[in-house]
């Protein structure tokens, strides 16, 4: 690893994760909104369980697509932290891998408090 910066492969993966998360969630949000408005479904409220959201999204339901898009968007920074933890660990940069794991634990606490 270059002592003056991070590995180019790792930064490229982080770039891909962040951009991919935004593009995928943006696509799902757009599709969900269009289906909701075109089919004149009632606009969704509340927060159903993850299993319900996935089932609805797989069925092409506008509400499900919308909620899956939001969850993917919210999970994108979490995935980025996970990729960095793994990447730094594999590159032998254990110190920052542990720091990233600490951030991941905090995000897990938030996830458990919110969705648990």
């Amino acid at each position: 690893m270059d002592p003056f910066g991070d590995s180019p492969q790792l930064t490229h993966w982080v770039h891909r994760i962040l951009l991919g998360g935004v593009v995928l969630s943006g696509g799902l949000l757009l599709a969900g909104l269009v289906i909701l408005l075109v089919t004149d479904q009632p606009l969704p409220e509340g927060s159903p369980s993850l299993a319900v959201v996935f089932r609805q999204a797989v069925q092409g339901n506008g509400v499900g697509l919308l909620k899956l898009g939001l969850l993917i968007l919210m999970a994108t920074p979490v995935l980025r932290v996970g990729v960095l933890a793994l990447g730094w660990w594999r590159l032998g940069n254990r110190r920052f891998a542990v720091v990233a794991l600490g951030v991941l634990v905090l995000l897990g606490v938030s996830l458990a408090l919110g969705l648990g």
Partner: protein, 292 residues
């Protein structure tokens, strides 16, 4: 709470305006979006904060993906500061559940005043006394030293403006962590990105060059917002259709704003926006006082 297609369109337009302003002024836009949703579209305060937090994740992820590739975002520094910023955001997100909408509006209006003043005064500039060294100088310096010249958190990036690779060390990390906690707390409580605190702290206290400070702050904001977004989502305060419409609007506005950026007078927009923020702050303050 229900929204008609017209309401969603208005939310999307508010998002576009937020994205355009954010791209021109270099802010996250939450300071503009929350008042527009609350005062303009009559969205309850907690829902407006939750919507803003989700849009912050979208813009932060989009901008950070480019900054990481360019090398301006310092991922090791950002990750270290994310420990305290996430803690602050969780504390803010939990606290928001116990605070009434009117009290939250009062706190938000109080926060807008210093932001408006900072906005009026303009961007922080590079302090010539704190200019970092070029990478070449640093490599020559490091050839004579055993220790890592940048420390564990230092980094370097190519600055096209000066056609050189700029290298820097990070000073007073503990102070940066304290400011990050504060920024995370404000973000979780009020739905703003918190860059308004983090960028000056990283630049002036930790002595990180302004471009790297702004990019690193933006890199961190996604995690800060995600830490509290799950709490709002769990409480059912993330309205899917409204949040989707506003988020798509913000992303579209950010692209438009980036194109407009070169054609508009940044200083004039900044001062107009600062004055507008003061008016909005007064309006939200009186709503909070009236309690209805």
């Amino acid at each position: 709470m229900t929204f008609t297609p017209l309401g969603l369109l208005m939310g999307c337009l508010a998002g576009v305006a937020t994205g355009v302003l954010g791209a021109i002024l270099g802010t996250g836009g939450g300071v503009f979006l929350v008042p527009v949703l609350v005062i303009g579209l009559h969205v309850p305060m907690h829902y407006a904060v939750a919507t803003s937090i989700v849009t912050v994740i979208a813009t932060s992820s989009a901008v950070a993906s480019a900054n990481v590739e360019r090398g301006t975002a310092n991922m090791r520094l950002g990750m270290t500061l994310e420990i305290t910023t996430a803690l602050g955001a969780i504390a803010g997100g939990l606290t928001a559940a116990w605070i009434s909408a009117r009290t939250l509006e009062g706190i938000f209006s109080a926060m807008l005043v210093p932001i408006a003043v900072l906005m009026w005064r303009g961007k922080a500039s590079e302090d010539p006394d704190q200019l970092p060294v070029t990478l070449q100088e640093l490599r020559e310096e490091s050839a004579n030293q055993v220790a890592e010249p940048l420390g564990a958190l230092g980094a370097c990036y190519l600055d096209p403006a000066v056609e050189a690779t700029i290298a820097y060390r990070v000073h007073r990390l503990w102070a940066g962590m304290c400011f990050s906690f504060l920024a995370g707390n404000v973000s979780g409580l009020l739905g703003v990105g918190g860059g308004i605190f983090k960028v000056p702290a990283l630049h002036l206290v930790c002595r990180v060059p302004i471009k790297a400070a702004a990019a690193t702050s933006n890199f961190m904001i996604g995690v800060t917002a995600a830490a509290s977004a799950f709490l709002y989502y769990g409480r059912g305060e993330v309205h899917p259709a409204l949040t989707a419409a506003v988020t798509l609007g913000v992303l579209l506005g950010s692209i438009l704003g980036a194109r407009l950026n070169r054609r508009v007078n940044d200083g004039a927009v900044r001062k107009l926006f600062a004055a507008l923020l003061l008016v909005v702050a007064a309006q939200m303050f009186f709503r909070a006082l009236a309690g209805g």
